[in-house]
Amino acid sequence: MEVNSLRDIVDDDDDDLERVSWSGEPVGSISWSIKETASGSTSSLDGRDSSLQKGSSSYAALPKQGSSYSLSSLFKGRNKLSSFQSLSDALTDTGVKNYAPELRRPRAEYKDYSSDWSPKDTVRRMQRGKVCSLERFRSLQDKLVLLDEAVSGHDGNVITAVLIFLKRTLRREILFRELEVRQVALCHLIHFLRETGEQKFLLDLLRFLDRTEEVALSQYREHLNIQDVEKRREFLKGCIGLPFSAEDTSHIQDHYTLLERQIIIEANDRHLEMAGQSELFRKYPRKASILNMPLVTTLFYSCFYHYTEAEGMFSSPTNLKKTFKIPDKQYVLTALAARAKLRAWGDVDALLTTKNWLGYTKKKAPIGFHRVVEILQRNNAPVQVLQEYVRLVEDVETRLNLATKYKCHDVVIETYRDLKDRVQLTAYKCKVERGSAEEEKIQSILSNMQIRWKN
């Protein structure tokens, strides 16, 4: 029961000090004031005692200003002051006890109620899982002592519990100000807010702390909760202006642009599929929608279904490359994988051929030819195609390994010949088919007198 509720029993007064007159004198009256002055103001504590019937707290606390008539002091039984004496006499005399008989209960019985425990004890009890009412910690200082005790107790569950209480009983700016210098407690509150989804409170807190980048990130994170693509696109557009770092801003911009394009491509392609006119879509029906896929996946998709489209089209690979500044290496790798899957060996070849200014063509692979071979082999390219590129692998050992593995006989033969390794070449003869062109080739090389074999 709070001090305030006793006003219902006693005459209400509009004095802003919590004073009750038990002897019946209206507070503010002259006789009352005289008693006030006479009694002095050092009768310890505490308006903290909100639980009247539970007795008063026993730990040291700030004395309340001039409140010798505070209820807790009445029931402490500390009859230091003469005028006090008269009040307690008045108590026994008057019918006050009829209003609140439990007020007269001996102090010993109050021990079971929580108000006896210090912040340290309260924290200890909470660590053991006991129920503890924190309501009595009303002054800011008490609240902070409680919080600091919780933090030094290391139990995050208790720290969070105290923060829940503080959040409920403190204006947020006050709470923020105090948490600014209490890192551990701050982390707990932030985590709690994230868990309970109190986005607005969290953002206010982060703004107060000037953690502008985190504000941006926390807001951006919300996009994951938006399932509808259109709404998500709108949301992402809004994220672009947020206080990210310069580099992150461009990532967010890209994210928005990518989704925007994907929505368009998806809509078009769905029509195409339904219409049933496109052979490509009929032969290779789409397994999933392109929405929310990463850029590289989108590129692969585009190289698969829209390879020959002009750069002006959003769905064309070249458009994607230009818009998102995809590096050559990535582009070739992805396009290669897509064309290989479609067994479009001609396209593969074109990708890897460059023409120099003289008009000569040269094969070039920004990703290394061993990679090219790997991709082609995974897509079951015929040996003749594979062989082309195995031949171009720069590292001799790798070339030999791959050629042997994939039975690109010509390449093996040529390589051994170039290495002038007669032993190996002879050994390889057993690996080729009897009477085949390869066997003949080996034979003719072996009998070539011009070659200066090293073994």
Binding site: G156, C187, H188, P294, R371
Partner: protein, 486 residues
């Protein structure tokens, strides 16, 4: 790991007691709600529960078993029991059910069993949702699950993220209680050693709990002597490296959860998936688990000849299956591993490592693997060069999705993947050490690498401590501290 088999080593303590205690307590708690009931279990708790109590134990009291997050059907029981971890999300799920029942006028009894304990935030949610008075709450103090003779797990996968990323100390109490439990059953412990902030806090809270409980020395011979408490973040490198022993590879490829692995139909080449328990009880597994994978083929071929006849098929994968697995699944991995370990761990040319990672990302091989590689590079090189950081980040976002912007920020916060600030490359001493490593035979992880990692870890730790405190005032402090101890 299982003991290496030293003949003079004492027998490990019987950790079966832990299982029995947990099981008995659970049964007791379930019986507090007498009669038939439907049980909702949290996904994370299913495996541990399996290890402790056969579902059949629950059968006598439990009508239907649901997974938490599934709505009960219309024919559900009048009593609902929820076996859950203390999560806000789960509380909302439960509250939804209770409120839905209220709306439709259905009256039921609800009991929530929190494992390992209840959090105040959970009660707050229940109160907020207006269902606090409609449910009874209990705690199942299940702190420790023995996974093998010598491994006990707390089965709290969220611990890492909650503590190291969010800075939340909520699990320190359960850790302290687990220590207390072990101490009371197998102690009293001798000395306690520790590295790391969390270790210190857990220790202090544990000591507090011990003081209060007033248990005497018991005067019996302790089965556990000393305790070593180590924070995970003192050595991220070990956790990040691809594992090269058999058990590690199985984990990397298939995820060992709670001491067992699920093999899907594509591996078993049949219609069913099988779940295999992997521990020292499985004779073959216990012999090969710690073997380096390069020796696998030879070992298994030899073994199969000896054991084929005798091996008990019901125990788990038989030899043939294991051999097939090793030859098919691991072959591809083996190649990758050779390529992976060489540049990174041996501290070779950074450019080579960086371009290897670039390629890995470009090929969209695996989002986790790519991150692992980047983090390893960052830790061993004390952060990535800003140019590399930016370019790898861009490529990662392009390959695996733009939302991973958030992933990068988390990793930065926790110190796993960072940018170098000016003038922080490895010192001359450290490059000398790295040269030592390159002289050794390639392909296997060496002690020299470990010491290299530890040395640059010091730098990483001090830098990380500086970063963790947003105000930056500790930065000067911890750098000094690290230098003096280094």
């Amino acid at each position: 790991m299982a003991l290496a088999g030293r003949r003079d080593a004492p027998e490990p303590p019987d950790f079966g007691i832990l299982k029995r205690l947990a099981r008995d307590q659970l049964v007791y708690l379930l019986e507090q709600l007498p009669g038939k009931k439907d049980l909702f279990i949290e996904a994370d708790l299913m495996s541990p529960l399996d290890r402790i109590a056969n579902v059949s134990i629950l059968k006598h009291d439990v009508d239907k078993l649901y997974k938490v997050e599934t709505r009960p059907g219309p024919g559900a029981s009048d009593q609902f029991c929820f076996l859950v971890r203390p999560r806000v999300r789960t509380m909302r799920f439960i509250a939804d059910i209770v409120n839905a029942d209220k709306m439709s006028g259905r009256s039921r009894k609800y009991k929530i069993i929190f494992s390992p304990q209840k959090f105040y935030a959970c009660e707050m949610i229940l109160e907020e949702e207006g269902v606090f008075g409609d449910v009874t709450c209990d705690e199942w103090s299940f702190y420790l699950l023995p996974l093998d003779e010598d491994i006990i797990s707390m089965e709290l996968p969220e611990f890492f993220r909650d503590y190291f990323l969010e800075g939340d100390h909520r699990w320190i109490n359960p850790v302290a209680r687990a220590l207390q439990l072990l101490n009371s059953l197998y102690g009293p412990f001798g000395k306690t050693y520790g590295i790391g902030r969390c270790a210190k806090m857990s220790y202090e809270l544990w000591q507090d709990l011990e003081e209060e409980s007033e248990s005497e020395g018991q005067g019996r011979k302790p089965e556990i002597g000393h305790v070593f408490l180590m924070d995970r973040d003192t050595d991220y490198v070990t956790a990040l490296c691809s594992q090269v022993v058999y058990e590690g590879l199985v984990d990397d490829t298939f995820r060992i959860k709670c001491g067992s692995v699920d093999f899907g139909p594509d591996v078993t080449s049949s219609d069913k998936s099988i779940k295999v328990l992997l521990n020292s009880q499985d004779k073959v597994f216990s012999q090969i688990r710690n073997e380096h994978f390069s020796s696998m083929f030879g070992f298994l071929s030899q073994k199969s000849r000896n054991l084929q006849a005798q091996y008990d098929r019901r125990r788990g994968m038989d030899i043939k299956q294991m051999k097939d697995f090793v030859s098919q699944e691991l072959k591809g991995l083996k190649q990758e591993h050779r390529l992976l370990s060489l540049p990174l761990l041996e501290g070779f040319d950074i450019r080579e490592s960086t371009s290897f990672i670039e390629e890995h990302i470009d090929r969209q091989v695996s989002p986790i693997e790519s991150l692992r590689l980047m983090c390893l590079l960052s830790i061993t090189e004390n952060g990535l060069v800003p140019k590399d950081y930016r370019s790898l980040k861009t490529q990662y976002l392009q390959s695996y999705g733009p939302e991973h912007l958030l992933t990068f920020h988390n990793l930065k916060r926790i110190g796993l993947l960072m940018e170098q600030s000016a003038g922080e490359t490895l010192t001359a001493v450290e490059s000398k050490v790295s040269k030592l490593v390159t002289d050794r035979a390639a392909g296997k992880i060496t002690d020299a690498f470990n010491s290299l990692a530890r040395k640059s870890n010091f730098r990483a730790i001090s830098k990380k401590l500086g970063l963790v405190c947003p105000r930056g005032e500790l930065a000067g402090h911890s750098a000094h501290g690290a230098q003096s101890s280094a």
